[in-house]
Symmetry: C2
Subunit: 381 residues, 2 copies
């Protein structure tokens, strides 16, 4: 019987510290500005994807996502498959001895180790894993940056999940998007002490989708142009300097200011878009209280297109950060065992702030900076 | 015994539709941008102030505010008294027959007909009434615009409360502030159908004061410069056109966009300033629902430096606006008797929005456009 070719990979989630918000080309996912993210550890958040193909497979390509058949006919997914097949086909043309994998139906099986309900950018990890797994299946020689051009077309921020550590998505200027790609700013090993605490807000009705939201912002916010023209370029430069110098206070200030700037342009959209809620804003006050008590900036908040708060901090400051939130959320799912050790190390928050956090957070994720996609022998079928 | 000279006036509250946010000179209250407001009816919201002086009075000037002695030594109040006295002194010099009121101690008694707790800009009505009452006491010939230069030094937005109807505060460009004054854009009689419904949010702890908040925004918001350089001038022009043409849809769109822009620059301040809460944002959604149901823009929201929602609409659309909020807030204090007649005229809001409004609004004020300060024979003592 015909051989079944197979490759599996895991890919990480990334959380931007300089935000992607705005497309200059919706079809190619070309952004209005560059962005920069921290890749989070796959021990806590990852997508595992197995790609197989065989001449014995019949019918269409298929995708099974978290155990359920998933539509694969979307233009974004199709763009990724088409480009990966084209790269494989080029290899097969150069070397007639290669099996014609590009002509076989693909079966892709993918699973997240975290609930999609958590409202974390699972599409980034998902498309990064899909592209990486098929590239491995096809034994493509292409670099992660080259593959990032493909993953970007699946989901913009997915291009950043092809690297570990600290990753920039360079917006590029070409209309064909060939220079809109992800590059490594620094590997996780350069600054391994970076930690992230995710405060998952109680599942409220999902707001405006980010794709639709960013298009409304581009179209209607009078303040948006200032952000992409002046604010983000300044933030990118400062953030690259902060990462290179491992300057947490600088990293944190830019992270918070860029999150504020992004949500400000959402509020300036017409009609206005609000992703943060009163609990999100209480978490901002909590981080400010932690920094005030420390007498320096040891924690940074950032918010994507939703109410979840992601707190960045350094391992040495775990007591101040975990110790502030753990006592309020002791019963909340997701704490690591050692969290309780820090229970007395935190800051006493004012009652109004504490009660909003107590009442509005449904899950915790304790993680940190991590590596990029990893080939694995753990296969899904 | 010596004669007691006396004058009393009432002055209105105004709610800006193009917001004042930012000082270029904190001492003189010179703004970074022009602004435009609607003066609200004194039937519902007004300050009554009586100013007296006499050669028989001894000691310092005094101010009694809502029944309690109030400090009058603040630089802002002193600036108003100094300038008014100087104008009176000049008259006395020209005409020796005039009593030397400028040399007598002043006794000022002032009362609001609404709770300060309502978080409405009572300082605007307060300083407008103080300046107008003393100007009348001194029989100053100066125009409201000339007096607005004095009221501005007490509280910036007070300069707009010296006129009724639709009022612009021209920012001016002089460093001495002599061209930073209020002018009438149109009298109330030009567009008397304008109504305002104030949804007073449950008294939460007062946030950052507007004086301190606007200085933080000027100092730290990267988006603020774009607002004052391009956004506000555009909004001022469009708003003056809308008022001149009585074009409510245009008036409403600029009102909502300017409020959004102002709160966006607050969110872009570092650390961020949040005046709107989840109830405020629910009210935004309610207004959007009212406009969607009407198939045109018949209601506009605007928010000052607090969570209260001010809804502008035309008298003919009372059923759609009052009828949407009355059923949710029937037990809330402040409805006019006729509100119940509109109970069935409104829009059914989605449950999440309705419950935030039900839970977060503590008082209603139903009012509309009104006249400027009025001399009265009702005197306080």
């Amino acid at each position: 019987m015909a051989e079944i070719y197979r490759a599996s990979t895991t890919a990480p989630v990334n959380i931007a510290v300089v935000k992607y918000w705005g497309k200059r080309d919706a079809k190619l996912n070309l952004p209005t500005n560059s962005s920069l993210s921290v890749t989070l550890s796959q021990d806590d958040l990852r997508t595992l994807t197995t790609a197989t193909c065989s001449s014995s497979y019949t019918g269409e390509d298929s995708l099974t996502l978290n155990g359920a058949p998933s539509d694969i006919s979307g233009a974004r997914t199709q763009a990724c498959l088409r480009e990966l097949r084209a790269l494989r086909a080029a290899l097969e043309e150069k070397d007639a001895s290669l099996p014609k994998l590009s002509t076989f139906p693909l079966r892709i099986v993918s699973e997240n180790n975290f609930p999609t309900a958590a409202g974390l950018a699972s599409s980034a990890a998902g498309f990064a894993a899909l592209v990486r797994a098929i590239a491995d299946l096809y034994q493509l020689p292409n670099s992660p940056t080259e593959l990032s051009l493909i993953a970007r077309q699946g989901s913009g921020s997915a291009c950043r999940s092809l690297f570990g550590g600290y990753v920039a998505w360079q917006m590029g200027s070409r209309t064909d998007g060939l220079d809109s790609k992800a590059v490594e700013v620094a590997p996780a090993s350069h600054w391994p002490e970076m930690r992230a605490l995710v405060l998952v807000a109680s599942a409220a009705k999902k707001g405006v989708s980010s794709t639709s939201g960013m298009q409304q912002t581009v179209a209607t916010s009078d303040l948006f142009k200032e952000r992409i023209t002046n604010v983000v370029p300044k933030h990118m430069k400062l953030m690259e300097e902060a990462v290179a110098a491992r300057d947490f206070a600088k990293f944190a200030e830019v992270t918070m200011k860029d999150s504020n700037s992004f949500h400000a342009t959402c509020a300036d959209t017409y009609p206005p878009i609000y992703y943060m809620n009163d609990t999100s804003r209480a978490a901002v006050r909590a981080i400010e209280a932690i920094n005030t008590a420390a007498g320096k900036t040891i924690a940074a908040y950032t918010y994507d297109a939703g109410p979840n708060c992601v707190v960045y901090y350094l391992e040495k400051d775990t007591a101040a950060v975990v110790g502030t939130f753990y006592p309020l959320l002791t019963a909340t799912e997701g704490w690591k065992a050692e969290a309780k050790l820090y229970a007395s190390g935190g800051v006493q928050l004012e009652e109004a702030v504490a009660s909003l956090i107590k009442g509005g957070i449904s899950r915790i994720i304790q993680t940190g900076v991590g590596e990029g996609p990893v080939k694995t022998d753990q296969h899904l079928a």
